[in-house]
Amino acid sequence: MNPKRTDKIATTIIYVMATTIVVILIALLLYIFFAGIKTINWHFLTGAAKSFQAGGGIGAQLFNSLYLLVLSMLISLPLALGIAIYLSEYASAQKVAALIRSMIEVLSSLPSIVVGLFGFLVFVINFHLQFSILSGALTLTIFNLPLLVRGIEDALQTVSNSQREAGLALGLSKWETVTHVIIPECLPGIITGVILAAGRVFGEAAALIYTAGQSAPPLNFSNWNILSLTSPLNPFRPAETLAVHIWKVNSEGLIPDATAVSAGSSLVLVVVVLIFNILARYLGNKLYKRLTGE
């Protein structure tokens, strides 16, 4: 066959396949939207879940997902900052840094169910934390750390080395230069990394099934005693998240409206993740503008 013809055919095939991908995503999003929107109303978003009947809501699950996200960020963010600063600013021996980076890569590629089982073994059983928000948050931290470290390290690297030299030449320590000059300068980049990680964490379920648990005791939002089982802030209560809820209603099939509940929950999940992504993109652009001096 003549090369020109082949070129044309190949290009056409590539166009068709690329379009297919776009069509798949659009179909996915439309499906999630139209299947879910029917279920969504105020009662669904705030109401309590039902175990055996139809008409349950996802109020507790939605709150649990957010609370777990915040708690795990509170634990993992300071750690990730420390690790990223070490790798980007302090690790002077190349071999040590490379070894630690490899370990973080291994950690990031572990299947989340394996991470969940480790959390189950260590936090739930050995530390006697039971199925609880705390067990879940600690487990999510393992899952979260590699993402955060990479994001923060990338952000730190965007700041020119001349800023570090400027601080050092004034007799400031590297630590002060990093915490007071470098981090403020790349803050939007760091926040972008954090939000992207938050999106991943918000949708995570496999690591939580055996750590935060699969039950959501009803919450009483006027109960501020954090040791009470119905207090939303109690970190020792079991807490099924939205993502785990979708999995559970489908695999157990005890409620008659499992499909509708899943569809509504999926829409909420996807919308939240979308908001995270848009926010991250916006902040990323802002940083880019600032660094290029516009």
Partner: protein, 266 residues
């Protein structure tokens, strides 16, 4: 071999006082020796230029004087750097204290992305100076020394990044002066600037000379001859000739220096 080149160093006058000196200062990057044993003496309240082609070792030498080369993991610096009768090239000497007394201005202006005021006060505040009155005085005084006060006195809260390149460089000079250093190291401070800004910086340096000892790296020979009292010529990691500036440019003692200043190479 580089070591066998002829060199000439004129000692300082008997009554001149030395602010800083080096003895057999060598810098290794890994196995490679980048600077081959430089011994120099810098007179107090004078300007000394370090000239030479790119890669001659002049910047490496300058960055060793306030131990900025410490930040490069592979760099090894041996020999003595004498400052106030202390060899500051010893590991037990506090590098942060060294850098406070031996300030530095870099080739490219590198103000912090903070306000003009904060650029000057930041390091002072970190070192515990909280008195607002005192800080305001220092801001005014150092900006005046750097001949920037008149242009920015109404915009002290504006971002330093909004200034022009020449203004940014003068802000960096003011920032360095705020730490009240003895010695100011300048690494081609005008190379990224236009001729007018360069002239302004040179005037500023003549003013600063009254209170500070200045060591400046420059690739611009006219600049060296205009502003400096002493000049040291570097070639391939070696210090070839050190003398009063007018002698270097009129009657150099070494052929290599003669070739360089007359433009036969480099």
């Amino acid at each position: 071999m580089a070591q066998e080149l002829a060199t000439f160093t004129r000692p300082l006058a008997k009554d001149a006082s030395s602010a800083l000196s080096t003895e057999d200062l060598r810098v290794h990057y890994g196995a490679k020796e980048a600077l081959h044993g430089v011994s120099l003496n810098f007179e107090r309240h004078k300007i000394t230029s370090l000239i030479g082609a790119s890669g001659s070792g002049k910047s490496t030498y300058l960055r060793s004087l306030n131990r900025m080369n410490d930040t490069i993991a592979t760099a090894q610096i041996t020999g003595k750097i004498m400052y106030r009768n202390v060899n500051i090239n010893l590991p037990q000497v506090d590098v942060y204290e060294v850098r406070k007394h031996i300030g530095m201005v870099f080739q490219r202006p590198n103000p912090f992305s903070k306000s003009i005021r904060d650029n000057i006060t930041f390091a002072l505040e970190r070192r515990g100076l909280k008195d607002r009155q005192k800080l305001a005085e220092i801001v005014e005084q150092t900006l005046k020394q750097a001949s920037l006060w008149e242009q920015v006195k109404d915009d002290l809260d504006k971002s330093a990044l909004a200034l022009s390149g020449g203004q940014q460089q003068r802000l960096c000079i003011a920032r360095a002066l705020a730490m009240k250093p003895d010695i100011l190291l300048m690494d081609e401070p005008a190379s990224a600037l236009d001729p007018i800004s360069t002239a302004n910086i040179e005037t500023t340096m003549q003013e600063l000379k009254k209170d500070y000892t200045i060591i400046i790296v420059t690739h611009n020979m006219q600049q060296a001859s205009r502003i400096s009292d002493y000049t040291a010529f570097f070639h391939m990691g070696q210090m070839i000739e050190f003398d009063q500036t007018r002698r270097i440019f009129t009657r150099p003692q070494v052929q290599l220096t003669e070739n360089y200043v007359s433009g036969h190479f480099g």
